[in-house]
Amino acid sequence: MKCFVGIDLGSTTTKAVVLDEDGAVLGRGITNSRSNYDVACAVAKGEAFTNVRFSLCSRALPATTSLDSRKRADLIVDLERHFRLAQHRAQLQALRETVEEEIASIEKFYPHAPVKANVAQILDAMEAAAEPLFARGTARRSDFFRDIAASQYHREATKRACPEKLPFEALMAVFDKSILRSENRELALPFERGAGWAIEKSLEAAGLAGAPEADGLREVLRKAFAVEIEIAESVGTGYGRARLPFEKRQIRSEILCHGLGAHRMFAGTRTVLDIGGQDTKAIQVDENGIVTSFQMNDRCAAGCGRYLGYIADEMNLGLHELGPLAQQASRPVRITSTCTVFAGAEIRDRLTLGQKREDILAGLHRAVILRAMSLLARSGGISEEFTFTGGVAKNVTAVAVLRDLVQRNYGKRTLNISPDSIYTGALGAALFALRAGVKAREEEGAAA
């Protein structure tokens, strides 16, 4: 089948959205950005196509009558989590292999410490923790292997480390050195160990393995995974767009993409706020999603998404956990500096002053939103309707603070937030790709 792809290569995450010929969203994929843009791009695309497969699966299922809708939904959920588990194991394996290659270069700095043995045990522990991580209904700290692995490894390393005998930094050094290289490896996940295995497991989980309709289901699912997908056109955007393997005509500024993407998600949108990893954008669009004015933060990235990332890292929390924790604040502190790199110092400083973690977090969130408010004001204020996009739009506290400040400064406004808000830029890019495709076809038509 023909499809149109939009890729948003951001400074922290890379997103891909796939549209079918009617502009309907077929799939979305995301991965953490890395120094190798092509890999990041490929992984995001791969994730999106996997996602396409699952939606093809659920589209295909109804063909078999025997399952009611709930059962079908469960089956897809099981299918997906088993596939993720298979993926996770493959990534762990890749990490293990990388560690074996790298460990010598670290060990030589700690000749008397049993680094190798302990790292092996840590990896075993992570292996053991894999299955429960993907059990039904477990919330994961992050969707990215790097984050999951990092926190598991850190926990295990802290347990094992002891001064002199087994230095903590020796264990961490091994991880730091290996994780990125292992991330950039081609994942060896043949169908039989990946999708094929996931199909079997999900059938088992649904208690259908031996059932008469099992073969039918197998057939349907395997077909869905086998469908041929052809990319008719793709457009790239985002910070790294200049480095994407695309030609100039296939590249659009993220401002335009976010404007169009937000318009597609909420047709009434007139103002868009996007808080990305290292820049915050305030965009005004007209009734067609065409940008009429915009403002971006100046050359210092203070108060951008990355800021919250550093804070999560500093407090050893998952990005997802920040918002909820800050919600528990009783008396938020006022934070004036939003310099990302100093955030850590400020937190430690305030913790030693005896201030509560959640109160500090609330203050930090407020600081981020305040900077966004000034950009919004610069770009011409907030008009009805107002759409909030980017990773930070998932953060409950950020959203709550934003609601409050908008209400107090601009009065009643509809605040749109899509669960897929992080894909806004990629969606806009995909729409540009679709347009280009349509245009091309018209021209062909005209030529003929």
């Binding site: 006022r334 004036t336 110092a345 408010m373 000034s374 919004l376 004001a377 400064n409």
Partner: protein, 392 residues
């Protein structure tokens, strides 16, 4: 001898001063207007503003020095790039959120490019208000700069009379006002003298609050507050402490947050000389009350203004004045605390610092802004500076 009878307790006086310092929304001014129906209040920014004239016009001069660390900047940053100082953004914030509505006009003296341009922004944002950019001469010759300044003062007098609610300033009224502000400056000088002699009796942070209180108080009230304070402070049982005596420079416009001043004291620095709230402290001594009062103000400005980065130094070298006052107050070192992005203060610094160095006076420098909330590195620096003075 018997201890003097103290009217109010020291604590309550200082507490009142702190409330007035934190009164960025000008409740005190609203109260004053309530008690004086039909009277007008005129705001002014640092530095050189002839408060006597506003007072003589029957109006309340109100010192506007930004929002300190209390005002949350929501709209203000929309008007200023990150590389500009903080005072104008909090001032705009206060203007936009209505806190300054109680003022009938604003005077922007020629202190720097930012405050100068702020006057134009005010014209655009608040067209219904009286906005005056008050140019002060950089030529200090009575016949040249003096004549220009006199024309400026007289046109200000006409403006105020034109505002309604104001009276056309008579020489008599102006002389009365000058006398009152002479008294005010005398009180301030007395407090600083006491600080030099017995620093532990009049802590820096208290004096700072007392001065700031004058921004929103009628001069008559401020005079009595200052009088009461010094009396109460002298009578207090505070014991001497081993602190490093330092002079502070760079705070002539954007004011340091009170917690910064306290941080310096905690870090072991006793500030015996400074350049904050300068609008309330020039000219350095009494303005003549005889003769033409406008001309007296002119010559007071031309010849008796304290040195500050926003006035041109016609002759002599930069920093001579600093060295002189350091010697006068027996400071052991100088701390240059300039607001971030303050061109006048920061461009002056190398010159004044060199002068101090040449005179063998140790110096230390750091940046702040009116809403600085993190004092860790400032504490480290001030502490090290105090240590090094004390360990010498």
């Amino acid at each position: 001898m018997d201890a003097p009878v103290v009217g109010e307790s020291l604590e309550s006086i200082v507490a009142r001063a702190e409330d007035l310092t934190r009164d960025v929304r000008l409740d005190a001014v609203r109260a004053w207007k309530g008690e004086h129906p039909g009277k007008k209040a005129i705001g002014y920014l640092p530095v050189y503003v002839p408060r006597e004239i506003i007072h003589a016009a029957g109006m309340l001069p109100v010192g506007i020095m930004g929002g300190g660390d209390q005002v949350e900047i929501v709209k203000g940053d929309a008007y200023f790039q990150s590389y500009l100082c903080h005072l104008p953004r909090s001032t705009i914030e206060l203007g936009l959120d209505g806190s300054l509505d109680v003022l009938d006009g604003m005077i922007f003296p020629s202190t720097c490019d930012v405050i100068r341009n702020l006057s134009g922004m005010w014209q655009m944002l608040f067209p219904e208000k009286y906005v005056r950019y008050f140019d002060v001469p950089q030529d200090f010759d009575d016949r040249v700069g003096g004549e220009f300044y006199e024309r400026e003062l007289r046109s200000l007098i006409d403006d105020l009379a034109g505002l309604g609610g104001g009276e056309k300033v008579t020489d008599e009224a102006l002389r009365r006002s000058i006398a009152l502000f002479n008294e005010n400056r005398a009180h301030v000088r007395a407090i600083y003298a006491a600080r030099v002699k017995t620093p532990w009796l009049v802590p820096t942070s208290e004096v700072y609050l007392l001065l700031r209180a004058g921004n929103v108080l009628p001069v008559e009230e401020h005079n009595s507050l200052l009088g009461q304070y010094l009396e109460a402070a002298r009578a207090s049982a505070r014991r001497p402490m081993d602190l490093a005596r330092v002079a502070l420079r760079g705070t002539f416009c954007e004011q340091p947050p009170i917690d910064l001043v306290r941080t310096l004291e905690r870090a072991g620095c006793c500030i015996v000389d400074d350049d904050w709230v300068l609008a309330a402290r020039w000219p350095k001594d009494d303005v003549a009350v005889d003769g033409d009062p406008v001309k007296s103000l002119v010559s007071a400005f031309l010849h008796r203004s304290p040195e500050c980065p926003s006035v041109y130094l016609a002759e002599g070298k930069k920093g001579e004045a600093l060295v002189a006052s350091v010697k006068a107050c027996g400071a052991e070192g100088v701390i240059f605390a300039a607001p971030s992005f303050c061109d006048p203060a920061l461009l002056d610094q190398p010159m004044t610092q060199a002068a101090a160095k040449a005179a063998g006076i140790p110096t230390s420098a750091f940046l702040y802004s009116e809403n600085t909330g993190q004092f860790q590195s400032i504490r480290e620096q001030a502490g090290t500076f105090a240590d090094s003075i004390k360990l010498s």
